[in-house]
Amino acid sequence: MTIALSGTELGKRLAEKFPGSIVESIPDCLLVNPSLLPEVAGFLKDIPDLDFNYLNYITSVDYYEYFEVIYRLTSTKYNHSIVLKARCYDRENPVLPSVTELWQGANFQEREIYDLMGIRFEGHPNLKRLLLWDGFAGHPLRKDYL
């Protein structure tokens, strides 16, 4: 059984290591400060006793006030998982750092999120629209897209 790690415990550890990186830590997930996301994700991936080597998926949800990007990480070695969340409050030009460097599997998914939700991922090697064609007006998965 994949154990869902408690966000509160991991959050404490991360807050010590990277001050200001954790906005909120609840049992279900860790809410990460977007500016420190690559550091936190890299720590989670590289530290031997966590070893989150597998990125299940990235998705994004539009909550009107902010965009929430959700990362689910799994360690295939220890068989545990954690959910990271990052929020973008800027609706006009939402930007998040890319995690493609850490997990290549993020490549297509970040492009998809850029395409459908309009969140730009900085540091992505090839940030183009994935599903829709270039020049498509708007980002369909936003709640205000009609």
Binding site: T2, Y54, N56, T59, V61, D62, W103, Q104, G105, L141
Partner: protein, 368 residues
């Protein structure tokens, strides 16, 4: 003096016999050698995730059929499991057993198509393809008996199955199971040791386990690298912890291993179904009491299953209305394509097709 050559761009797809749908690759070739490819997808994009936001929780189930249309039952099941997790619905045991049986039947059907079209891509002129379709037809017949349709089953419901199985289903399934292993042996006899197939697929398109994990690859493609990661074992959903089965893994992660892993998985699926049939409760409800206009509490849930192609998951967000606030589908096929570029570089055009075929994608799921 060396001859001056320059690479040329070959456009493969979106309409091409072996891109399994409307996948397009811009391949840069040096003679026959693939220097680089750029996958272009989106030709089948229907905006299913957006459509979900305008449908009720139940009303979205028929649309999940259209994701990976080769294995619709798995899609239905994954979505229903996510909503069940969200709404806290307890599925009756009989329904869970039936779900296991159906999911494994679906795995057999999917792997038959995957291997058949893979061998067809290798150039075996339709013989293995048609042999495998013949067996798949039998599975589809059984699904037709259950759900009334042959491709878009729409059989799972939130809290169980849409209807109980008909009386003639179990004897028919038993007859199918009795014959299936012999047919798998026949496929093995047909091409498993064929020298030409070995030459074409051994060592071709190798991917290492670390690379595969880093690229979020799952399913038979990951297991072919020798890394045993199967959600049925790693994160047992339904009743998979009650069954005794093996997870076949490959040796080095080449096309031949992927082919072999799928063949072995079919054998294991037959094993699982036989065990499930033994334990299946003969009477009992197949559907929990779920209101037709379900509105789960506010929150989000993610449920994943080991679909035939890999980890298929649904991330469902609810805002306590009758429609999901957001549905995200973890697209197995799309993520399995992540490493395609690394896998095909330096191989020939013919290998490009073989490697692509061995990944076994379904464009309905890639583009959604």
């Amino acid at each position: 003096m060396a001859i001056k050559t320059e690479p040329f761009v070959l456009n493969i797809g979106p309409v091409h016999p072996s891109t399994h749908g409307v996948f397009r690759m811009r391949a840069t070739l040096d003679g026959e050698v693939v220097l680089d490819i750029e996958p272009v997808i989106g030709y089948l994009h229907r905006g299913i995730e957006k459509l979900a936001e305008q449908r009720t929780f139940t009303g979205f189930i028929p649309l999940t059929d259209r994701l990976d249309y080769i294995s619709s039952m798995s899609n239905n099941m994954a979505y229903c499991m996510a909503v069940e997790k969200l709404a806290g619905v307890k599925v009756p045991e009989r329904a869970q057993y039936l779900r296991v049986i159906i999911a494994e039947m679906q795995r057999i059907a999917n792997h038959l198509i995957a291997n058949g079209s893979f061998l067809n891509d290798c150039g075996a002129y339709f013989t293995p393809f048609l042999y495998m379709f013949r067996e798949r037809e039998k599975v589809v017949d059984l699904f037709e008996m259950l759900s009334g349709q042959r491709l878009t089953y729409n059989f799972m419901r939130i809290g169980g199955l849409s209807q109980d199985i008909p009386d003639e289903f179990l004897p028919a399934l038993r007859r199918f199971l009795d014959k299936m292993p012999a047919f798998i042996d026949e496929y093995d006899r047909l091409l498993k040791e064929n020298e030409v197939l070995l030459a074409r697929t051994r060592g071709v398109g190798i991917i290492t386990a670390e690379k595969a994990l880093n690229c979020s690859i799952s399913g038979p493609v990951l297991r072919s690298t020798g890394y045993s990661w199967d959600l049925r074992k790693a994160d047992p959903y339904l009743l998979y912890d009650r069954f005794n089965f093996d997870v076949p893994v490959g040796m080095q992660g080449d096309c031949y291993d992927r082919f072999r892993v799928r063949m072995e998985e079919m054998r294991q699926s037959v094993r699982i179904i036989e065990q499930a049939l033994k334990d299946l409760p003969l009477k009992g409800a197949v559907r929990a009491d779920v209101p037709q206009r379900l509105h789960p509490p506010k929150g989000e849930a993610y449920a994943h299953i080991e679909s035939p192609k890999g980890e298929l998951g649904f991330h469902v967000v609810s805002d306590n209305s009758i429609a999901p606030y957001r549905v995200h589908i973890r697209p197995t096929s799309l993520l399995n394509l992540t490493a395609l570029r690394e896998m095909v570089r330096g191989w020939k055009v013919a290998d490009l097709i073989v490697i692509f075929g061995s990944i076994d994608i379904c464009l309905g799921e890639v583009d959604r």
